[in-house]
Amino acid sequence: MTSTLRAAAVVLGLVILYASVYTVSETEQVIVTQFGKPVGGPITAAGLHVKVPFIQTLHRFDKRWLEFDGDPNQIPTKDKKYIWVETYARWRIADPLRFYQAVTDERGGQSRLDDVVDGQTRNAVASYDLIEIVRSSNRPFQVTEELEGIGSAEALTKIEVGREKIAQVILKKAAEITPQFGIELEDVRFKRLNYIDTVQQKVFERMISERRRIAERSRSEGQGRAAEIRGQKERDILAATSVGYRSAQELKGEADAKATAIYARAYGKDPPLYEFLKSMETLKAGLDPETWLILSTDTELLKYLKSPGP
């Protein structure tokens, strides 16, 4: 009989012990309620803890950063471009008691975050141009030679805020609201931005026409350059020939002048003699056998034909 009682006492003791100690993991925080009323502050230190058995209830909450994915949403930007915006956020339960009171559990928290983060995202995206959300700085694009001067004009507009800061605006505004749910928002970031399908088609068309333009330009540049080279060819040929001609004529002219001087010096000594000699030479060379020669008997040669003279 005593042993049965002892056993019962041991079991009872174990049950009470089990109900009055509890562990808290590194990843958890706990609030304790007594008849529904919170007792003490949240317990965040990991390890073994005690409570009043049976009348105190534990509510465990995660202590870590928790995930949140924004609802992928179609939002018009300020310049009326429809884009899909996907954000993600990380948050943690900073005040578990308030969290418990305001939203009960994580599901409730996610639902509040949906309202807050998605709403702020919508506001932010709608108040900036698309380029502001895409770019985060005004760094100039590096351009290869073939592509120089091609590119959409709006890509060159300077941004004033930029992606990073817009995300920070969302974070800041949302983080002002979340403490009332016991939530601390740690970060909000744009994960994905995409054109909606119809806009995407248009963008693809634009990209195609842009590429065509580049291709056409490249082709005509090639032809232009080729024509230029051909022109250069003509030029260089004419330059070479004409320079050659000029040098040749100069050389010839100089030689002619020299020759003329030589002749003048020599023949100048007795011009009539030169005239006479040259005439004789020309007669010898210039008359061919078929030439009719009509001679008068008065000539020097034939005067003796008639009489021997005095």
Partner: protein
């Protein structure tokens, strides 16, 4: 008897910090049952008190949920019965995340595939508001196992989200041409830095080792147009090369021909001057002699010339004013009848 066995157990594992066994056990009538219970107890003790850490990992030990220590590779003991739990974290292993595709069977020739969700992962806007498909991988290591385990609930998914955000931010600041060609390295580098910055901000205990861009393409519908550009660039090069070929064929030849004309002119010049000098010398010589007897020399030259000339000419007519007619000169060759007025 039973007490002895129970007392020895804590000594077996050498753990002085072990908890005391509460109370006694219900009496077991049979000795065999005792032995079985003892063996089972021993086994449980062994399974819950001993653990081993592989060479590429460390063990993070929690007692009642609270962190107590991190243990290195090798065999270890812990307080059994779930008082201490150990989580193994592979800190030495290089981990990899793939974006925009997945390796389905890594081998010498690995196979890859892309699901629609992964296609969405890779599709992104570039800084000139075009669209590019960027696939990349991130290699990383868990630097701080405590942070990795305790600071974020979904460290891996969070890391993927961060990675996408970082890559899109960097690509959003580059033109589509930079993304596709010249900017690849810079983009990978910047995205890695941005991702590491986010890791430090999120305190997720990760060290990003490498971020490598894989296939980077224009979206499928636009691909042919991009190829056309490459083709056009080739065509351009070809047109220019052909023109240069023509140039190289014609211009050196023209230069050679010009040079030829110059050389010929040089020849002409030499000839002309030499001739002139020769003629002058000849005249000088004649003149010297002529001066001595001008009259007779002149007459001699005249008569000699005609004497040489006349026999060569076949058709000659001699006129006499007083004869009033033509007196045909008797030709030395041919017949008189051939002569026609």
């Amino acid at each position: 008897m039973a007490h002895e066995v129970w007392r020895q157990r804590p000594i077996d594992i050498g753990g002085g910090g072990g908890p005391r066994w509460p109370g006694g056990m219900p009496r077991v009538p049979a000795a065999a049952l005792k032995a079985v219970a003892g063996i089972v107890g021993l086994l449980i003790l062994l399974f819950t008190g001993y653990y081993q850490i592989e060479p590429d990992a460390v063990g993070v030990v929690q007692r009642f949920g609270g962190y107590v220590r991190t243990t290195d590779p090798g065999p270890h003991l812990k307080i059994p019965f779930g008082v201490e739990t150990v989580t193994k974290v592979p800190v030495q292993r290089q981990l990899k995340e793939e974006f925009g595709f997945e390796t389905t069977s890594p081998d010498v020739r690995s196979r890859f595939q892309t699901t629609p969700e992964q296609a969405q992962e890779a599709l992104m806007l570039t800084g000139d508001l075009n669209v590019a498909v960027v696939e990349w991988i991130v290699q990383y290591r868990i630097r701080d196992p405590k942070l990795w385990l305790f600071h974020l609930r979904e460290p891996r998914q969070t890391f993927r989200d961060m990675s996408e955000a970082a890559m899109r931010k960097v690509v959003g600041d580059h033109s589509v041409d930079e993304v596709l060609t010249i900017g690849r390295e810079a983009i990978a580098l910047q995205a890695r830095e941005e991702l590491q910055r986010l890791c430090d901000l999120y305190k997720n205990g990760i060290e990003v080792q490498q971020l490598v861009l894989q296939d980077v393409n224009p979206p499928d519908p636009v691909k042919p147009a991009f190829n056309e550009v490459n083709q056009a660039i080739q065509e351009k090069e070809r047109a220019i090369n052909e023109a240069w070929a023509e140039y190289n064929k014609a211009v050196p030849r023209a230069k050679g021909e010009a040079e030829q004309a110059v050389r010929a002119a040089e020849g002409y010049a030499l000839e002309r001057v030499n001739n002139a000098e020769g003629d002058a010398k000849r005249f000088d010589a004649v003149y010297e002699e002529y001066r001595k007897a001008p009259g007779v020399t002149k007459k001699r030259i005249y008569l000699e010339t005609l004497g040489e000339l006349l026999p060569r000419l076949k058709k000659k007519v001699i006129l006499d004013e007083k004869a009033r007619g033509i007196l045909p000169f008797l030709p030395l060759e041919g017949k008189a009848g051939e002569l026609k007025p």
